[in-house]
């Protein structure tokens, strides 16, 4: 489970990644054509982690070189940044959440589990690190060559931006919350079912003892010396049989407490879905903005980057007049302005939602932990009470039996 320190999304970062150079993205094509990617090196680092404990970890160098589309020659000086394995994980989780219909490429193994000739799973082992480096590079290349994934803007910022977009963390957080909600619902349902069956059986056990009461009573009528002992033992058996009603009623409280959290999971899921919706709307606005900007660029430079019917027809039927182009540009500018406003709005909405939702989720989590712990304790107390009653009844019965 994640533990989050930062609550809100840095809006500046969103702006930044939205406004990357359009020529890096080719609609319908793949990023691979425009960018050379490699995981060049691996290094050991030590530092303080989220809970302020010193730890050693490995970082990997991601190098990107822009490829000139015309000459197909790579820029000699690459851009680079260091990332550690857990950041790759976060990024991949984001892909899983955002593209549920895609078979997302896997990461190399987290721990050195399947190393055949090593005696211990050592993540610092140089062979392991090297093989991981290759695996991580492979992962990035796979994503870059995927028709859908390669267009993802977060992918680009993962490759190039030092400040990784933090809202990604929240995507994962919400995803995991949703998953938790599902699991909790399943577990509590099972528990409630088992509890109901157990209660049923226990009821049976206690009630059948009532028959002892009846038979003892009848039997005592034909006995001389044993009569009294049997009669009183019979009364205790009756009391025993009757006691189950109260016991089970108390247990119902426990069931009710569980049920409350069963229904809570529904609400939890609703919040996660709302987050998905917010995110989706933001992405739609962002997509729209990007495409408008692309169009502007095309018009401004006269180059056709993307394959479009319009582009083809204009080639076939001749290009527009400068006046037409001017009008078009003006419209686009307005649209872009509106689009940017929309994105800002949506981002702020997302922001606000995420901040509040996550706060409440944290609150909910603490409440749940408290409540359920109390529920468990009160269950134990009930069991203790039941046991004490049982001890009393049977001790009494024993006394009666010894008088037989």
């Amino acid at each position: 489970m994640f533990s989050f320190v930062v609550y809100y999304v840095n809006t500046l970062l969103i702006d930044t990644y939205l406004l990357f150079t359009p020529q890096m993205v080719e609609k319908g094509g793949t990023l691979l054509k425009g960018l050379e990617i490699s995981v060049a090196e691996a290094e050991k680092r030590t530092g303080k982690n989220a809970v302020s404990i010193q730890e050693t970890y490995t970082v990997y160098l991601i190098e990107t070189r822009a490829v000139d589309n015309v000459s197909e020659v790579a820029n000699p000086t690459p851009d680079s940044l260091w990332r550690r394995y857990s950041e790759f994980e976060i990024f991949r989780n984001y892909l899983l959440v955002t593209y549920p219909f895609v078979v997302v490429p896997p990461l190399p193994e987290k721990r050195a589990e399947f190393v055949w000739h090593k005696l211990s799973a050592d993540n610092m082992d140089p062979d392991f690190v090297e093989r991981r480096r290759v695996g991580l590079e492979n992962f990035l290349l796979r994503v870059a060559s995927h028709p859908v994934l390669s267009n993802d803007k977060i992918f680009y910022s993962f490759l190039t931006q030092v400040f990784f977009v933090l809202c990604l963390l929240f995507c994962v957080g919400f995803f995991e919350m949703k998953h938790y909600g599902d699991e909790l619902q399943s577990v509590i349902s099972q528990l409630l079912r088992v509890r109901a069956r157990v209660a049923d059986r226990l009821y049976g056990v206690y009630k059948v003892h009532g028959n002892y009461g009846r038979v003892f009573s009848e039997w005592s009528a034909i006995e001389k010396e044993m009569g009294d002992g049997l009669q009183s033992a019979g009364h205790h058996m009756d009391a025993y049989a009757a006691s189950i009603d109260d016991i089970l009623e108390e247990e119902e409280h426990y069931a009710d407490q569980l049920k409350e959290y069963l229904f809570y999971t529904e609400a939890l899921r609703a919040v996660c879905r709302k987050h998905e919706l917010c995110q989706f709307e933001l992405e739609m606005a962002a997509q729209d903005l990007i495409s408008k900007k692309q169009q502007r660029e095309e018009l401004a430079t006269g180059t056709v980057r993307t394959f479009s019917l319009k582009g083809m027809t204009s080639k076939l039927f001749g290009q527009e007049t400068p006046e037409q182009r001017e009008t078009k540009l003006k419209t686009l500018e307005t649209q872009i302005e509106e689009g940017e406003e929309m994105v800002k709005e949506r981002t702020a909405e997302c922001d606000e939602f995420v901040k509040n939702a996550w706060e409440d989720i944290e609150r909910f989590r603490e409440q749940k932990d408290r409540d359920l712990k109390e529920a468990l304790i009160s269950y134990a107390i009930m069991q203790i009470s039941m046991c004490k009653k049982g001890i009393q009844v049977w001790n009494n019965a024993k006394e009666c039996f010894s008088k037989m």
């Binding site: 577990v187 059986r201 044993m226 712990k373 049977w394």
Partner: protein, 466 residues
């Protein structure tokens, strides 16, 4: 009245008595008892015919002796049944049990015997004892087949339960003042091969004759059953019903308890699964899972006690009521036979009296066939007198036999009641104890859970304080 305690395990309990010789001498000094104990029909070889003790008074004395004396804690014969073994032959597969006897009684040549017996052999012994002592109460044997189909004939459980029941059966006989002195019992404990002994005994035809007589007598019924036996009969009827009910109830409880225990066991893995998806709650949930698991195991143990101890005992007493009914029937038969004989005698008397006033017709007939009527009459009178004398003698014997049978039954009935009371009291006591134990163990489990949670809380508080 009881000369020892019956244990469920196979090891004999009490140590051998020291003053044994003195005890045996006591018995011998009583003339009546000596006569009784030397009575061939009772003690030795000829357990073939229904025994007619020469002095019924001695029988009564025997029981009086027992009642007046304090219950001796000394036991001079120890029998254990153990080591079941499976035997396979061409025809059948069966189980034999080792019967180990340790005794200091003088009637036994050695002080230790070890033989192997199968269920059939126990059946033989029971039959012989019932034949010899029709109105003594012999503890029931476990049933021949298990009708419920719950257990296989050779399953460990079945064999174990049967072994315990057989052990109890033999020990009850060993504890019985009269039955333990039975020659058949001795043969059972000591003979290497029972086969030859089994073949001896009343011939097939004479056994048939006995059965026919018994059936005829039971069909005939008793004229006036003495009140005390009516009371016993009524009690046995009612007791039988109660025992059957208790048997059923206990079986039901066992069934419910087993199912409860199963369901309880299903809860534990769910809590474990839950603990896997939690952080803060992981520890208490894991603890919860382990608590449920422990309670589940305690519950299983509790059921064992019910099935291994309470249920078999109740079942034994259900079987006992069949034995009691049979004993009462046999007593009735003895009485019925006596009454039949008495009627026959009365019939003969009537005949004799009628003979005095003979009819003209018979005289006429006699003179026709050339017999002197007076002579004939005299002959007939003599014959009748002879017959009546015979019948009267038989009646005397049967009267004695009935009186003895009644007394034996009365005495043994008291003994049985005491035993029953002790048995049932003890087994119910033990059941209650076990139940208390079960609840105490579960209590400890849950209290430890509470304790651990409270400790965690207090630790948490400490951290906050600092």
């Amino acid at each position: 009245m009881m000369s020892g305690t019956v244990t469920d395990n196979n090891t004999p309990t009490a140590t051998k008595p020291e003053d044994l010789a003195g005890q045996v001498l006591d018995l011998d000094e009583d003339d009546d008892l000596e006569v009784f104990s030397k009575d061939a029909t009772f003690m030795d070889g000829s357990s073939f015919n229904s025994p007619m003790p020469t002095s019924p008074g001695s029988m009564v004395n025997q029981y009086k002796f027992e009642e007046e004396e304090e219950v001796p804690d000394t036991k001079d014969i120890f029998v254990t049944v153990d080591k079941p073994e499976s035997h396979v032959t061409a025809i059948e597969t069966f189980i034999t049990y080792r019967v180990l006897t340790k005794t200091s009684r003088s009637e036994f040549d050695s002080s230790e015997y070890e033989v192997r017996r199968r269920y059939q052999d126990f059946l033989w012994l029971k039959g012989k004892l019932e034949e010899t002592h029709p109105t003594l109460i012999v503890h029931p044997l476990p049933e021949k087949f298990v009708m419920k189909g719950m257990m296989e004939r050779f399953s460990d459980d079945f064999v174990e339960t049967r072994k315990r029941a057989l052990h109890k059966f033999l020990n009850r006989i060993a504890d019985h003042p009269v039955l333990s002195c039975s020659e058949d019992f001795k043969i059972f404990l000591t003979a290497e091969e029972l086969g030859t002994h089994k073949k001896q005994g009343p011939g097939f035809l004479s056994r048939i004759g006995d059965t026919v007589r018994a059936v005829a007598a039971s069909v005939r019924g008793v004229r006036t059953r003495p009140e005390e036996f009516i009371a016993i009969q009524d009690y046995v009827e009612a007791f039988s019903q109660k025992m059957t009910s208790l048997d059923k109830v206990t079986q039901r409880i066992i069934k419910e308890q087993k199912e409860y225990s199963e369901e309880l066991g299903e809860g534990s893995p769910v809590y474990t699964k839950w603990s896997d998806i939690e952080d803060e709650l992981m520890v208490p949930l894991k603890l919860m899972a382990s608590c449920l698991d422990r309670c589940h195991r305690e519950s299983e143990e509790q059921v064992l006690q019910l099935s291994n101890s309470l249920l078999p005992t109740l079942h034994e007493y259900v079987l006992c009521t069949d034995t009691l009914k049979a004993v009462l029937r046999r007593r009735d038969n003895i009485q019925a036979e006596l009454e039949a004989k008495t009627e026959t005698l009365a019939g003969k008397k009537t005949e004799a009296e009628a003979e005095v006033e003979s009819k003209v017709l018979s005289l006429a007939w006699d003179s026709l066939v050339g017999k002197d009527p007076d002579e004939v009459r005299q002959q007939r009178q003599q014959k009748l007198k002879g017959e009546m004398k015979e019948i009267k003698e038989e009646i005397d014997k049967m009267d004695d036999r009935l009186e003895w049978a009644n007394n034996a039954l009365k005495a043994d009935w008291n003994r049985w009641q005491e035993r029953m009371r002790a048995d049932l009291r003890s087994v119910f006591n033990r059941t209650a104890e076990k139940n208390v134990e079960y609840y105490e163990k579960c209590l400890a489990v849950w209290e430890s859970f509470l304790l651990s949670q409270k400790t965690e809380d207090s630790e948490g508080d400490n951290i906050l304080d600092s």
